[in-house]
């Protein structure tokens, strides 16, 4: 509408007349928008990349021996060790396999930690023993091949780095001071797998069941049984059936469902994101105060002009919209510039904090740009409300008298 147009023109000209002051006020909004958008994007990217990393094992159910106490048990794979009852017996494994075989793949793991020696370097490492047939499905090789003989093993990349291992290196397992040692040969090096609930292979030596029981004994006393489900929807069915079968009289096993862990991790991350964004929001609050100040100054400086406008027939609401336009222009200007800048700053923040910008352009990440723009604009308009209201309620005679 044309009347809006002339009032709008007055707002634009007023901003142009006090250009520096207006730019500084808008700069506050720019900073606020950039802070909120980049913090939000950082959180979103963190969540997305962690979820991606974790969901690769979301389809795995981990069954460990019930350790009493709080019922949950710590991180599986860290345990192992002395307690005789702390294993899953062959019978229990068979029971689990009977239930879960039709929903996915079931395999048992032996696990032990022991002293190892490579050349003159000594250290400790986790040793896993599992069915040779499972290797190709579970691991990816970067070098070499999967073990075909009993004294050959594959090793994780972090162990390779620490001990300078190569395909063909020999590792001595066991402490020579305490008894016999076994020498195994590295035939393959695994790809990095990250931390996971089923097997932490990055720092481990992995061999066949026969090799493991040959060194440590304890045949049929598994540390952990993993079930790789074909369909995530079966999680509850399988869990319930195993609970029903093995834990009816007393708890003998603990079943851990990775998806719950992912949920709690992403939940924590999003709480953290909201918290960080709230801190970023403080900068918007400061910007709001500065916009408020600029608008009040604009009203005070233009009291006489307001008096003229009113005396020649400008309605109150038209004066009010003139000042609201002014703060809206500052808000939209700040938000648009802020959006452009936050794409750059957000990219750098994500790169620095998450380490990868793989998910930067994902909708869940980019949505924070319009979100921050909206918050910035609304903040700006809200802080213009009172100045606009006070301008429109000036007495025209008083206003005309002002110098």
């Amino acid at each position: 509408m044309i009347i809006k147009d002339i009032i709008f023109q007055l707002s634009i000209r007023s901003i142009r007349l006090h250009f520096l002051r207006s730019v500084l006020a808008a700069l506050g909004i720019v900073i606020g928008v950039v802070a909120i958008a980049s913090m939000g994007m950082m959180g979103a990217n963190m969540t997305l990349s962690v979820t991606e990393e974790l969901s690769s094992m979301a389809d795995t159910l981990v069954v460990t021996a019930y350790s009493g106490g709080g019922g949950g048990g710590g991180m599986p794979g860290m345990g192992g060790g002395g307690d005789d009852d702390d294993y899953i017996s062959q019978d229990e494994f068979d029971a689990v396999e009977r239930i879960a075989a039709k929903y996915g793949t079931v395999y048992a793991i032996y696990q032990e930690s022991d002293t190892i020696e490579v050349g003159d370097k000594k250290g400790r490492a986790t040793m896993y023993g599992l069915d040779e047939d499972m290797f190709p499905g579970l691991f990816t090789l970067t070098e070499g091949a999967f073990p075909r003989s009993t004294n050959s093993v594959v090793v994780g990349p972090m162990l390779v780095e620490r001990l300078d291992l190569k395909v063909g290196s020999k590792i001595e397992i066991g402490d020579p001071d305490e008894g016999s040692t076994t020498t195994v040969r590295v035939v393959g090096i695994l790809e990095e797998r990250g931390m996971s609930q089923d097997i932490n292979s990055d720092m481990a030596i992995i061999g066949s069941e026969k090799l493991f029981t040959g060194i440590f004994g304890g045949e049929g006393e598994y540390d952990q049984v993993n079930i790789v489900l074909n369909d995530l929807d079966d999680t509850e069915t399988v869990t319930d059936q195993i609970e029903d079968k093995l834990n009816r009289k007393e708890d003998t096993v603990t079943i851990q469902d990775s998806s719950r862990m992912i949920e709690s991790i992403t939940g924590t991350l999003s709480t953290m994101t909201i918290f960080v964004m709230a801190i970023a929001g403080i900068s918007l609050l400061v910007a709001a105060v500065s916009i408020f100040n600029v608008m009040m100054m604009s009203v005070t400086e233009r009291i006489r002009e307001i008096g003229i406008l009113r005396s020649i027939g400008t309605q109150k609401n038209e004066v009010r919209s003139m000042f609201l336009y002014e703060s809206a222009i500052l808000g939209v200007l700040g938000a648009v510039i802020g959006a452009v800048v936050s794409l750059t700053v957000g990219w750098l923040v994500v790169l620095a904090m998450v380490g990868s910008t793989e998910y930067f352009f994902a909708p869940a990440s980019l949505v924070y740009v319009p979100f921050a723009m909206a918050i910035g604009t609304v903040t700006c308009i809200l802080s213009g409300l009172y100045p606009a209201w006070s301008a429109s309620n000036l007495d025209p005679i008083e206003a005309l008298r002002a110098e």
Binding site: M1, R13, I308, G313, K316, I397
Partner: protein, 224 residues
């Protein structure tokens, strides 16, 4: 002459409540002004001239009494209708010109036109009026701050005229101008009156008041 006066005051009183006590600015003023008259309101400072002009200009309403402008009682109006009155019925010419500094001369004149007609001027009326008061199209592109006092007052007169008001109110129209320029402005105003427009002018300069066909003297808020 029209039977009903264009401005009629009946026992108008205006009291300002100040912390130091009430100030009676207008004390039972009754007068009427017919259409086409040129009235000068004179009086010493503090006599209530400006208050009277603000009442007639619909910028303020009486504390008591009735004030009819063009047959409507402004004492009963709210802010919205008073504002409409200022836009449509009254043209205000100020001592300090009071042009909008952000707008050019042309836009200053066009502004009330847009407020009233809700569209830009396509009829050439704005240019026509500006020419009539002696502002050519070159000058009309300038901002008020780039014009002389006399030029600004001409633009202000054009602005007051653009919506064809029934009444022109002039508050010391030559107060900020030198004698020669003031005379030019008065000639314009006198010309407008001879075309039949009602003029009400506040002044304390008898020479200027001489242009008017009737002079009302105010002393201490009363018609003397």
């Amino acid at each position: 002459m029209n039977s009903s006066p264009v401005v009629e005051l009946a026992d108008v009183t205006k009291v300002y409540h100040l912390p130091s006590g009430d100030v009676v600015a207008l004390d039972g003023v009754s007068l009427s002004i017919e259409e086409g008259e040129f009235v000068a309101i004179m009086g010493p400072s503090g006599s209530g001239k400006s208050t009277l002009l603000n009442q007639i200009g619909s910028l303020d309403v009486p504390s008591s009494g009735d004030l009819f402008i063009d047959g409507k009682n402004i004492g009963e109006m709210g802010d919205r209708h008073l504002t409409e009155m200022r836009l449509n019925t009254i043209g205000y010419i100020f001592q300090k010109f009071n042009l909008i500094p952000l707008l050019t001369a042309f836009e200053n004149v066009e502004y009330p036109y847009i407020l009233k007609h809700r569209k830009k001027d396509e009829s050439g009326r704005v240019n026509h009026i500006l020419e009539m008061v002696g502002i050519d199209s070159d000058l009309s592109r300038h901002r008020p701050s780039e014009l002389s006092g006399g030029q600004q007052q001409r633009v202000a007169i054009a602005r007051a005229l653009v919506n064809e008001p029934k009444i022109l109110l002039c508050d010391e129209p030559t107060g900020n101008l030198d004698t020669k320029t003031g005379r030019h402005i008065m000639d314009i105003l006198d010309g407008l009156n001879s075309e039949g427009r009602t003029l009400i002018m506040v002044t304390h300069d008898p020479a200027i008041a001489g242009y008017a066909s009737r002079t009302i003297n105010l002393v201490d808020g009363r018609v003397a």
